[in-house]
């Protein structure tokens, strides 16, 4: 996999969520992703950026256009230095929430992405990476 372009944004405040979403959409449009693909990507991004703000007081979001086997995709990385997640498996379950919300952000973002990776260490922080390919289902 190769990175064709890359941009890093700092997420600190609520309006950054919308700004980031718009940026992600721009990237998706640039590689010719379908409307449904774009919407899935942006929705996943919205969940993950919101988690970063809510549970880790913000962090960094990286936007990339990547290419693999001649197919382009958008990769988004959300990295924070927050409290980390004690039990990632539990956090990935539908309906699990320590924030008294719906508990759909992480599992939903996974379903909406073509590739999903989460790494978290208590006391160190959390990094979530997702990819949606141009022609991904």
């Amino acid at each position: 996999m190769m990175t064709l372009s890359k941009e890093t944004l700092t997420i600190q405040r609520e309006p950054d969520v919308i700004y980031f979403r718009n940026k992600a959409k721009e990237y998706a449009v640039k590689i010719g992703m379908s409307m449904v693909g774009q919407t899935k990507l942006i929705t996943a991004a919205s969940e993950l950026v919101r988690n970063m703000l809510r549970y880790a007081n913000g962090g960094e979001a990286v936007l990339e256009i990547v290419i693999r086997n001649n197919i382009k995709g958008v990769r988004l990385t959300f990295a924070d230095k927050g409290p980390g997640i004690k039990d990632v498996k539990q956090a990935m379950q539908d309906g699990f929430s320590t924030g008294r919300s719906l508990g759909l952000g992480l599992p939903g973002a996974k379903r909406l992405s073509n590739e999903f990776d989460i790494k978290s260490e208590v006391g160190k922080g959390t990094t979530v990476t997702i990819i949606r390919w141009k022609n991904g289902l």
Binding site: V17, R21, V36, S101
Partner: protein, 132 residues
């Protein structure tokens, strides 16, 4: 814009969301709508989201809250004009908008509301519900 206007149309309230809402605005709308339903004793709430390009779990929860609070005050809630891509995405996200009815446009939404509150006791089915 720091407030979304709520229009009163007879027994119904109509809200047209023109932009993607940031959280504070969405929460304010939830509050304002619930207050308005209580004050005006409206029987129905129509929320037009045709200009909304994304509904995430936060926005979904707000729509659900509006519907359940309105229901307590005897008003039904209809979300109209949801873009197909948004509807497809909601399913995969895993979000079910409990208590929220859906319709293609404002006109169909009004018709649905009238049926619900018993103007024309006709069909019970929602017009767009099977997509969600």
């Amino acid at each position: 814009m720091d407030k979304i206007p709520i229009l009163k149309m007879g027994e119904f309230l109509l809200v047209t969301i023109q932009v993607d809402l940031y959280d504070r605005l969405a929460l304010a709308l939830e509050n304002d709508l619930i207050n308005m339903v209580s004050k005006t004793e409206a029987r129905g709430v129509l929320i037009d989201i045709s200009a909304v390009s994304i509904v995430d779990s936060f926005m979904g929860r707000i729509l659900g809250n509006i519907a359940s609070m309105s229901k307590i005050m005897d008003a039904e809630t209809v979300v109209v004009g949801m873009q197909p891509a948004v509807a497809i995405t909601l399913v995969e996200l895993g979000l079910t908008l409990t208590g929220v009815h859906t319709a293609l446009d404002v006109e169909k939404g009004m018709e649905l509301l009238r049926n619900k509150i018993g103007y024309l006791p006709k069909e019970e089915e929602d017009l767009y519900d099977d997509i969600i």
